[in-house]
Subunit: 346 residues, 4 copies
């Protein structure tokens, strides 16, 4: 059995990790560490975990976590994983970081977008991007995996096959218009996020100025030059789910069939990717509660545009599910272990 | 491996059965039979099942279903299970009926509430009520289990311990004010159930005239006389979940502690029942996607009233989950096999 | 033109008052006073009011408010209206209090339920309950009107006609199972009220221990002895609306026709009350955004039970709308002035 | 008083017209004509209109409607307004058509997108586009106004000022990623639109193949050449509202300030347009129930992209509200008459 622990377990990402790890089958779930929640019974903070995760949240003792666990999942506010990762790795644990601290490769970019100095730049070099389908081999040998954000996961899964084959035909900035459920904003109550003001409301935010924009550009440029990206996120009145519509201006765009074939080929055999054909299009509910990423392409050659739609559950393939997928790869288990639950529908 | 099949697989109950049976571990899922959906690819009808359940819906051939399966789940409109059960049992299969045809013991009551003659009265006598926690032994030996409805499941779980101990103190009709998600109304689109008219809307329906009222009264009277019940259902703007508030007028009502002790004792060791204490109260979201039934009691002795709240996921403990729980019992498996998934939260 | 002002204008009740007063036709809307919001542009706090209410929130200067306005609406946290009312009345303004400070007649009850001493007991005697349809004459001559809470409004409108005619047949505690939209909880973000935890969730709270229970009992006893009430509120996943189901145990219950006739008679000519007959039942959405209170009755004589359902918009008939209705009555305008907007549907 | 009538009054557009016309002040609302709903009491079909619109839906008798009304609003399925308009105009009434029949100027385009021959091509020439802010003078003299669709209204309001000033800098297809509430799909229940399948779901549909794409291209080209448009609609889990994000690839894009100034200037004095500045962005809820169109611009010069966001209530500015606005203009009333209701928030 793999001994796993979670730091930052009292947030939504933490709760979702508990759900997957408790049902994993090859994992013994140890400490659920939390900051201000330490000492509180888990079921007080998360009533749904009554009977699922007994006991109380643990204080966050990095050395002990690192010593007692084979793998530690970090679901922390940005900045907090820097020192933590250093100590956990030193203690011999592997680390899957669901947060932002090891995503941007460039310390200057980190400073610019997160407003603080990166204090673990050695690990920046070592950390592997946890977009499993694209970095599987590196993940397999990694001590530290930086899980991509929910938006970058959906966007990269949608755009990388297209760019790999037709990147040279892209003529301008790629627009990613993404719509997210509210859980992506985390658990802290704050102004403007009250139920009554988000319900029956659709709103854009942070267009062109969201931290995930440089992260997406970085991933799309992996192994060469990538396109400029304009990232335009929206908040939708739902709890879970991301739907990303990626608009790619192209000269001599491939036909839909041609582009679809590239996706079908690239993702053939991928257990968590479903390329939809015919009239079907991704929808968030078809992925809810599961680790699936659904994709579909459309092309309008007259207008010089290829479009890729992607849908994921932001807390699963966009966070906890992909984290467990990476853990499976890191520790040599079958990649799908514990992750095959069907989506919850309706 | 147990060979299972589903009839009526293209409705919500059918889809939920697929979800649980595909991840069960000891079940080989055979035919997904459907009426008007026969021949259609499963993923066209249920996009979320792409990659989960391949192939097409099968035509409904009772003899073949009965011969090829150890157990057949029926998720059919009322009336359709009567002949089906006869043939399936004759073919040697066991049957778990998620519908209404074998719930009311009295053929006259069936005629009154369902407007048709009961044509399988022999089986009426044989059928066992599938409220697992209360009829486990009978279920274990049954060929035909009649899964209780979602409302009766929540209501009976809430009221039976109270009645068992304090039934003689009940002074009048028990009021069950229940609130249900919309999925309980089934998949057929119909007037008044459009998204735009249910969203941001809370409404009562069928107060005192719902088919589940006699079913609840029957179950509460099991093994003797039970109280009269006034059942008052409401539709809430959510997809899944039932919250039942059961108000019991009592003379010399027990204290809350006394009543709570009865519940804690009765449900001790029950893997799918959580009796909440302290300030906690059941909420539908804490059970979403899981087979849990959450319960809590309150007492107002001055006003001569005991209250029991129950929350379940109507499609799981109220339908497919309890059906699988019954299958496990019928076939001698551990009762929790394949059913321990944690609730999906948030 | 009537000069009106609002104190506590930066909450949901305040915003709703602005909506109604700006479209009233006979009101000149003066200061929008706020506490921590003072000085902030209205449109920053309430984007929907851009172009509707220009300028900034004013500081709360009671003497000035009282001097500049004919009527001041108070939408304040409990406790804050005590001193305010004294000063506003002294300055010559009339006051409609949407809060709780002048609802409970008994200072001891106030102390018990609000945990503080009532410091304006003289005004307690003077204040008139603003359930307009039942206290119209008193409201007409009042300087200070205490608007009933949203739950008591719905509950009292539902129960008073029944009790007036058949109060002597009531045999036990009346159960009020009420379901409310989230806006009733106010605007302050707090734990447990995050969008992601309320959405797709139905939950009871404060059963038998809510401050509105004594308020309802007081109003139902107006002019004599009333029944005991067990008040059981629930939070529903919607923004606005209250649906109250009132269960009345009765000996020799009247027939539905008899009871319906009482309601039709009592509310005949009332512009904001709609008594539904036939198969219709109240639903919150049919009142959304309007000052209507919808009612319907059911009776089960076998079970000794009468049921009255009521639906209102908690922010309109349950707060701002009824407050304006009271203002109209206090100042001698036609009671419906500015209040006839149809519900927003769907 | 203006005598008005509605044909197609039993749909959502019809109900919304009733809401605005009943509170208009200068309108006497006559026949509410309906197809299959004729003869049914209005309050049976629309419970919220109990007490607002008495009586029953009328049969659709064009000659009588045309004779009895000064203006007739058509809220019909496409195809049905063709003959109706001819007869209504012949009978002397003016017509505001909320449907699609007189939107596309080119009969060949009509045939292609609506699959039927246009049988009133004379009126096609005469009909005036009812985007009031842009065709006010023509509307003033019109007998027949073709109200633009909800998506084209939002999109055109967003893009026309930009194109007017900077149209020559546009370098490629404009992408309009629009998100709509479900009420835009109309009232007919149909598969895939069940509450349970749309709730907690965000999904694209008809990308690049929606009938509103040619309508938008036509309007953007009014008075010259316009850009190619790729229209990508989505269904969001809410009842009302459209949020359109319009992405315009530009060479030498203006600065945000420059672009904002163009919008502020163009819409200065427009009572129903709010250009948001600073950090504010449009959100559907800020327009709910009102005739406002909220706009904001962003520019990323590095990426060669200007973005305009627009929010409207699809049933108001996107349908019934703009229709009444056009009626006001046609009949010489102040344009805002009866339309100044503030948005409903929260």
């Amino acid at each position: 059995m793999i001994r796993a622990a979670i730091a930052g377990a009292s947030g939504y990402g933490g709760a979702e990790l508990v759900r997957w790890l408790r049902g994993h089958g090859h994992v013994e779930l140890g400490a659920l560490a939390a900051g201000r929640g330490a000492g509180r019974p888990v079921e007080d903070v998360f009533p749904h975990l009554s009977g699922v995760a007994e006991g109380a949240f643990a204080p966050t003792d990095w050395d002990r976590l690192g010593a007692d666990a084979d793998v530690v999942f970090l679901a922390l506010p940005h900045g907090e994983a820097l020192a933590a990762a250093v100590r956990l790795l030193a203690a011999g644990a592997r680390v899957v970081d669901l947060g932002a601290d090891f995503r941007l490769r460039n310390p200057a970019a980190y400073r610019r977008w997160y407003g603080a100095e990166h204090t673990a730049t050695d690990l920046l070099t070592e950390a592997v991007c946890g977009l499993t389908e694209w970095h599987r081999d590196a993940v397999a040998g990694a001590r530290l995996v930086a899980n991509p954000g929910c938006y970058p996961t959906a966007s990269s899964m949608a755009l990388k096959p297209l760019l790999e084959h037709f990147g040279d035909r892209v003529t301008g900035a790629v627009v990613i218009d993404a719509k997210s459920g509210v859980s992506g904003a985390g658990r802290n109550p704050r102004d403007g996020y009250q139920y009554s003001e988000l319900n029956e409301n659709l709103k854009p935010y942070g267009a062109g100025a969201h931290r995930h924009q440089p992260e997406i550009e970085q991933e799309l440029a992996a192994g060469g030059a990538g396109p400029r990206v304009f990232f335009s996120p929206h908040l939708a009145p739902m709890t879970r789910g991301i739907l990303a519509a990626c608009y790619v201006p192209m000269a001599d765009a491939p036909s839909r069939e041609e582009l679809e074939a590239v996706f079908l080929d690239r993702y053939a055999g991928e257990p968590f990717v479903r390329v939809l054909t015919g009239s079907a299009l991704p929808q968030t509910k078809a992925t809810l509660g599961s680790n699936y990423c659904d994709l579909a392409v459309r092309v309008d050659r007259d207008r010089g545009l290829a479009v890729v739609f992607a849908a994921i559950d932001n807390l699963v393939k966009g966070a906890a599910g992909q984290a467990v997928q990476n853990m499976n790869v890191m520790l040599g288990l079958d990649e799908t272990t514990g992750l095959l639950a069907a989506p919850v529908f309706p």
